[in-house]
Symmetry: C2
Subunit: 330 residues, 2 copies
Amino acid sequence: MLTIKEIAEMAGVSRTTVSRVLNDSGYVSDEARKRVVKVIEETGYIPSQQAKSLRTKKTKVIGVVIPKLGTETSGRLVNGMNEVFSKYGYQILLTSSNLEPQKEIEYLRLLKSRQVDGIILSATTISDELITEIHQLKMPFVAVGQNIPGVANVIYDDFNASKAMTGLLIERGRKNIAFIGVPESDQAVGIERKQGFIKQMEKHNLLIRPEWMAIADFSITSGYHAMSKIIENAAGWVPDGVFCVTDRMAIGAMQYLKEAGHRVPDDISVAGIGASDISKYFQPALTTMDYENEVAGQEAAQILLAQIEKSENFQKTITLNGRLIERDSI
Amino acid sequence: MLTIKEIAEMAGVSRTTVSRVLNDSGYVSDEARKRVVKVIEETGYIPSQQAKSLRTKKTKVIGVVIPKLGTETSGRLVNGMNEVFSKYGYQILLTSSNLEPQKEIEYLRLLKSRQVDGIILSATTISDELITEIHQLKMPFVAVGQNIPGVANVIYDDFNASKAMTGLLIERGRKNIAFIGVPESDQAVGIERKQGFIKQMEKHNLLIRPEWMAIADFSITSGYHAMSKIIENAAGWVPDGVFCVTDRMAIGAMQYLKEAGHRVPDDISVAGIGASDISKYFQPALTTMDYENEVAGQEAAQILLAQIEKSENFQKTITLNGRLIERDSI
DNA sequence: AGTTTTTATGGAATCGATTCCACATTTAGC
DNA sequence: GCTAAATGTGGAATCGATTCCATAAAAACT
């Protein structure tokens, strides 16, 4: 491993001068600069960021914690962040909690120990322990997707998105609407979206049947099973609409309906949230809500950078609205 | 920011002793250890990995370069790696080249400058420049998906996978088979898979029509357009099978066929490669090849760890075979 | 009791960069 | 021609950890 000392010797200058060339700082004569540059090129020397950031206290690395690697949502989110960060010379240290709450806390610590310049957390469930940990962090921080008190947030307006989608279902004449949600441990998806549905139904004086309210786990398969259970429980009475809080569950539900001989949307309408890639190509194409995760990622990155570079410590919260995408499933 | 020095002072011991407690090394009396542990817990002190690895020359970070964030393939691959790495206390610094070859080289340098302990590259196109750069790296390295000479590789047997899939099509009585591939700049997907198709067709003395050989760009939409062009060019003659080198393009092709009134698989069979999530739920369910990217990720991680920890410098190449998944599209 | 071994502790060097400061040499200003 | 400012260079301290080495006290052997 080549070091600055060796480069200095080879170029016949001091480490200080090499450092100046490297960082374009201070005074360096053309003559000396040329010699240094030449040696660097010949040797392929790459300075150790390690040593540099030990001294400068800046790593130019942002820690990001996402729930699961390789999901569309996380992918888009991280892409959005990356766009902004790379523009400013920052890199992302990506960690995935794999949906284990304990890992989130662990990774937060780990990221701090790696001296990242800031952290973005895309959480699913927020425990008190997690909140405590976050507050102990005392470093630039932004939460995405879930509202965490006392810190900067980029969140989606889940309540109104859900309400709007339910409204669309009703507008199209659907009255007996089933609901496929997720556990309430997830505040945004589990509670907010459910509340949006309930409020809208109540507003129109529509009956919410408990036996038509299923809970699934985000997967396509779970949507399939939830739908089958609802239809079986229906016993004669069949819903004329289903609102699924995620696209993948909606896909599963549609799949079941098709197999069971129900026509979508003629007999029964299906709606999702997320505008996943698959939703466009499935038949019938799913009516859904685009959450524009890239934008969320960009916003989160911007806020974090403001905290880092201008050391603004605001607890700014940005709320993003979903964009309704009407297709063929309603 | 708390440092080891401050902890030492607060506990009334030397930095050396604190370090020993931290790393469970050397001799420390119970009495001293207790005092140190107490101070650490009270203060929430987290040692700087930065400083540690400057000294130890080990960062416990692995650099990973993938072509695109948020794709299923990359997601699975990275998940597989992560499984292995996290078991041994390593973390992944993930970078995405966003399909720009220049960025691959740039990130390789960047990762080296961050002193990662090793690098895994999942490349799509391999230029001479890239190969030169890799050889200059002189650090633990594994390439995934593309065969790069002179280094360790984990590759898929694209040629035989493609041959097998084409064979299945033929076995089912298909004779007039169209082909949707990708540009040849991608050695594995563009060339190997195409050759597998060609060799199998030739073996059975089947005609390969140039006008039925389309080139698309991995996307669903491009598959759709490629298929439409083939059908249009067919002018009367319609193929009875299409082999698409990726699932997403196969989905696009099927979509077009459906819209154009061709029945899959009755009139025309469709085959893909990749076992993507969507392929299972699309109708008809796509017959495809599972490349088991998680396994590839695990293997790559294992090989890299062997290089790092046992400093084995072998140019081991592991070839993974695809697993045929027969569903309804053939 | 005297010697060796084990246990315990801290001082100081080290990793590879940056940066403050001192000093030397030019160049500019009057 | 003399002082002041600009330019150029390197020595040495520093960042926060680990680790070699020296030293001392306690425990274990003759």
